[in-house]
Symmetry: C2
Subunit: 117 residues, 2 copies
Amino acid sequence: MSNVSMKFGDVAERYDARARVLKALAHPTRLFIVDRLSEREHCVGELTEAIGADTSTVSKHLSVLKSAGIVSDEKRGLTVNYSLRVPCVLNFFGCVEAVLQANADEQMRALRCGTGE
Amino acid sequence: MSNVSMKFGDVAERYDARARVLKALAHPTRLFIVDRLSEREHCVGELTEAIGADTSTVSKHLSVLKSAGIVSDEKRGLTVNYSLRVPCVLNFFGCVEAVLQANADEQMRALRCGTGE
DNA sequence: TGGCTATTTGGCATTATAGCCAATTACTTG
DNA sequence: CAAGTAATTGGCTATAATGCCAAATAGCCA
């Protein structure tokens, strides 16, 4: 566990892999998709309708999430149905909201007490 | 709370804000930085040494994290010391590892049982 | 003040993402 | 098999992110 002078080069692959997962989540549309899938599975058409973009765009977002292992797909009849494969990603929202709240608080404080930055 | 046919357009700003936070995290070097800062605060020079990139590069990564509200900085003497502002981001690592593990399992299963994809 | 160290900023080339349209594939049903 | 619906893929342009170097800033100490 000795972290003394730990070098990035020695562990870069691990952080690369982690970053790939987070990068897949780091897009407004894809976060919206994850949120929808947390309720129930959806086919591409349903998501496309809710998002209001081209079907191909939504399909590509889904493929990004799938490649990262965040969602899984199952073809049934005419539709392809996507579902959340690793529900723990939903925990992210709580922390992200906490960050946003902290930012909002800070901003408020800066305004009240004279210019911050 | 009715999610019936929720439209992305109506809530896009919220997802934009969330995505900005996740995007700040979605880079191997920045994840490494967050991990280092989870132990204790570090100045830019220490992080630069561990990362092995140009100082300016590391400084810019820190500025990305700071803009997102994930880290805070404090200048003391010659150095600028960064620390984790919202420690709950560390919880992300656990879930991300779970995703990676699930991916690895899947891959293993595919290899054993004949080609998956 | 002048020099020194630590950090940030500006600028630029390289690469990666996003999103649209058009074309293609996959499946179902008449 | 033909036609129709659902989804994916290829291609392209526009925009954003990375990372280096060089230059600018900021604080400390002779």
